[in-house]
């Protein structure tokens, strides 16, 4: 074989391949970064550099006007699955003391007789987020809102881990167990509704979603309706508002009655 140098401008293959590749890169870059931004009539570019930055995907404020602010308080809690994992026993103990003021509604064992949520064994991140939202005003409730302003972040952590520590007890008012309705196991894909069970247990659990078995049907219906009409809006990325708005009144009824009839001890978090 002839000993020709490959990486040399004397080599025809080198010249051609590098030349064609470079030409392609330059041509496509001109097309993508200059021609296309100018060709789009709805994209207003302030000049060549602006066009290039826009096509390169550098975020910019497209308007000098300030962004629209919501007329209500939005939740500022960021949920992660590592939240409140491995609590200390001191924290649980402090939570038990603090929880005395909650017992009148949520029950001394965390199981309510007043159509308030049962908190015994609930995920700590769920309780913590709701307390934070009550304090910030992202969620409002005539009974809960006055309690929250006095709680520090540590108080909320303590309460959350204490209630999580309590054993899940059968609900006070369980009805006969009823079969799972379609909305719980299938959802309604054509209306963009995921199955309730894919976040709230049964099929899967998602961070930030409470388990619902044995909760008061009246409470769950009230919350779904509040999500649907926008009275409650502290859900992450509007997940529950979008779902509740698309649910029919019968589906709300079925889902709430179904979950209320399920004993929590049958629920298994880790499958």
């Amino acid at each position: 074989m002839p000993t020709e140098r490959l990486f040399s401008t004397a080599n025809r293959w080198f010249r051609l391949s590098v030349g064609i590749t470079a030409a392609l890169v330059i041509l496509t870059a001109l097309g993508g970064f200059i021609l296309l931004p100018y060709a789009q009539s709805d994209l207003k570019v302030a000049g060549l550099w602006d066009a290039i930055c826009s096509a390169a995907g550098i975020p910019k404020l497209t308007s000098s006007a300030s962004s629209v602010q919501p007329t209500f308080k939005t939740s500022d809690v960021i949920m992660t699955s590592a939240m409140l994992a491995n609590p200390s026993s001191e924290s649980i103990g402090r939570g038990a003391t603090l929880a005395q003021q909650c017992a009148i509604c949520h029950g001394p064992t965390g199981v309510s007789r007043a159509d308030s949520p049962n908190l015994a064994g609930q995920y700590p991140a769920v309780i913590f987020k709701q307390l934070k939202d009550f304090k910030s005003g992202a969620r409002t409730n005539a009974v809960m809102s006055p309690f929250a302003p006095h709680l520090t972040d540590q108080d909320m952590v303590d309460l959350a881990v204490y209630y999580h520590y309590l054993p899940r007890l059968p609900a006070y008012h369980p009805t006969q167990k009823i079969p799972a309705p379609r909305i719980v196991i299938n959802g309604a894909p054509m209306r963009g509704i995921a199955p309730c069970g894919s976040c709230h247990g049964g099929l899967d659990n998602k961070t930030g979603s409470p388990w619902l078995e044995g909760q008061s049907a009246a409470y769950m219906k009230a919350q779904l309706r509040a999500f649907a009409d926008g009275a409650r809006r502290n859900d992450i990325s509007q997940q529950m508002r979008n779902i509740a708005r698309a649910m029919t009144a019968e589906e709300i009824e079925e889902a709430a009655n179904y979950y209320a009839s399920q004993p929590p001890d049958e629920y298994s978090a880790a499958r």
Binding site: M1, P2, T3, E4, L6, F7, N11, W13, F14, S17, V18, T21, L24, V25, T28, A29, G31, G32, F33, L36, P37, I52, S54, A55, A56, G57, I58, I78, M79, T80, S81, A82, Y123, A180, I185, N186, G187, A188, P189, M190, P195, S198, L203, D204, N205, K206, T207, S209, W211, A269, A270, R271
Partner: protein, 540 residues
């Protein structure tokens, strides 16, 4: 000269065994989400099965085929015993251990994230570690192919590298570089989260890294098929390869343009700028070039065979071809499926046209047509061609092989054509459950049913294929002649150094990676506040 028969057979057998299992899962998935079956009420089982199907079919099966075929090519084309056979066994062992490590958490439902990972979904760390082991095992193969070629070149400084080995090592280098994207995503992004060291992940950056791997991996899957086109088909049908040079050019072109085009998988992703999407779209069009070169060269080679067999006139040579030869049949089927798949691909790579079918079942239909159709049917052909040389036993029934190939061809068309159609109707992909009683979906029920029936035909064909291999293994022993590859009409006496080495093309491949991926990756990696909380499978 096939000395490492046991090694090669082990690769092929493991490949086809896992392929058989994944095929059953695939058929089951098509069945349970079709109107033929009442909904199983738990989508998790569907995604669990889908993850296993994709992981096996995407990573384990084709990698093993490329490796086994690669070792066979190295020995028989270079006529030199495989150097580093122990390392090759170690690579095989890593793939076996990796596949098991990945599949255990998938079977337990702890890693139903699909084979494309989809962060912020995070499954069990063992799943990702298993996939990493599979990739590391394949990198041993890459190194061995490179070393074997280097040593051969040292001993044969004046002989051009045989086309089969030239293409094989091009495929190995392509895989080595293309796997880097997913490796970066796994090692630096997903595994720290899966191991609990972090709880947030930059999903946008992860998708860009994965796109680096996701498109070129198709060309890695395609390499054995293209090598078979060039170096097995002309010989098997009694012809000659029309042009050795054309083959070399096609393979180096794949090396250069297969990789810096992956962002066309992310056309709907907001984190990548439109300019880069356009560049990737334009470069995707370039991969048509090596494919068209190949179609031309192989058609010309087949015509030579037809004319040598007495075919006359502009089309008379087609009738004269050895249609009862399974390799001929497989090649024709592969070309037809590649034609349809390629035509669909033109829609996918167009920035605007893609919006009509993005994330629909069209895409699923497309990649099954290309991979399951055009590519895998040639894997069958490779196995049929190599088997007697590996086992030292003869095949007794070409009729059964033809039936198997026909079933696969027909089954793949019945599966994927309706799949494309429902995609145009807007049926989304990656969905477990469809309510066909809804008037809006009722019109899709017939197509989905047809598609599921096609899946069963494929399952029968797959079972038949394994049966043929088993029969081949148990048939009477024979003295196999030396395994050889196609001769070119003009065998290469002297080849330009550019077409006998890889330096230039690897430099262009890496250069294009920098121009086409450098900025999007750097921008996303440096920007703060782009991470989102991980969503762990089955965790609260």
């Amino acid at each position: 000269m096939l000395n490492s028969r046991r090694l090669i057979l082990a690769h092929f057998w493991l490949a086809f065994a896992v392929f058989g299992v994944a095929l059953v899962l695939g058929a089951w998935q098509m069945f349970i989400r079709s109107p033929l079956h009442t909904w199983i009420s738990d989508p998790e089982w569907y995604y669990r099965s889908l993850t296993a199907h994709g992981t096996v079919m995407g990573y384990v099966f084709p990698t093993l085929i490329a490796m086994g075929f690669g070792y066979a090519i190295s020995e028989s084309s270079l006529k030199q015993p495989l150097i580093g056979r122990r390392w090759a066994w170690a690579g095989f062992g890593l793939i076996l251990v990796g596949a098991v490590t990945a599949m255990v958490p998938v079977s337990l439902g702890r890693a139903s994230v699909l084979y494309t990972f989809y962060p912020p979904l995070i499954g069990s760390a063992f799943y990702y570690i298993g996939v990493v082991l599979v990739v590391v095992g394949s990198w041993i193969w890459v190194a061995l192919m490179s070393i074997n070629l280097r040593i051969w070149k040292g001993n044969n400084p004046d002989t051009p590298v045989p086309l089969a080995m030239f293409a094989n090592v091009a495929g190995a280098y392509l895989w080595a570089w293309t796997a880097v994207g997913a490796a970066l995503e796994l090692l630096f992004q997903i595994l720290p989260v899966a191991l609990g060291l972090k709880s947030t992940i930059d999903a946008g950056l992860a998708r860009v890294f994965f796109s680096w791997t996701l498109h070129a991996i198709v060309y890695f899957w395609l390499m054995p098929t293209y090598i078979a086109y060039y170096t097995i088909v002309p010989r098997a049908i009694g012809g000659k390869l029309y042009s050795d040079t054309m083959g070399r050019i096609a393979f180096v072109l794949f090396l250069v343009v297969a990789m810096p085009i992956g962002i066309h998988h992310a056309f709907a992703d907001p984190q990548v700028g439109a300019g880069f999407k356009f560049i990737h779209s334009a470069f995707t069009a370039m991969v048509a070039l090596p494919t068209l070169l190949t179609v031309f060269t192989i058609c010309a080679s087949v015509e030579i065979a037809g004319r040598l067999r007495g075919g006359r006139g502009p089309l008379g040579w087609i009738a004269a071809l050895p249609w009862n030869n399974p390799i001929m049949l497989a090649t024709a089927f592969s070309f037809v499926l590649l034609g349809f798949g390629g035509a669909g691909g033109l829609i996918n790579m167009s920035y605007q046209l893609d919006t009509t079918i993005h994330n629909t079942q069209w895409i699923t239909g497309h990649f099954h047509l290309i991979f399951g159709g055009a590519i895998v049917i040639m894997y069958f052909a490779i196995a049929y061609d190599l088997w007697p040389h590996l086992t030292g036993r003869t095949f007794d029934s070409f009729r059964l092989m033809r039936l198997q190939l026909w079933l696969w061809f027909v089954g793949m068309i019945i599966t994927t054509f309706p799949w494309h159609y429902v995609g145009i109707l807007g049926m989304p992909r990656r969905m477990a459950y469809f309510d066909y009683t809804d008037p809006a979906l009722a019109s899709e029920a017939m197509s989905v049913t047809m598609s599921a029936l096609g899946g069963f035909i494929l399952l029968i064909s797959g079972a038949l294929f394994i049966l043929i291999l088993i029969r081949g293994q148990r048939s009477p022993a024979m003295e196999a002649e030396e395994y050889r590859f196609s001769m070119a009409v003009h065998p290469p006496a002297s080849v330009p150094v550019a077409l006998n080495s890889y330096g230039l093309w690897l430099a262009l491949m890496i250069g294009l990676t920098v121009t086409n991926y450098g900025f999007p990756i750097a921008q996303l990696a440096l920007r703060q506040g782009t991470s989102v909380p991980a969503v762990y499978i089955g965790a609260q």
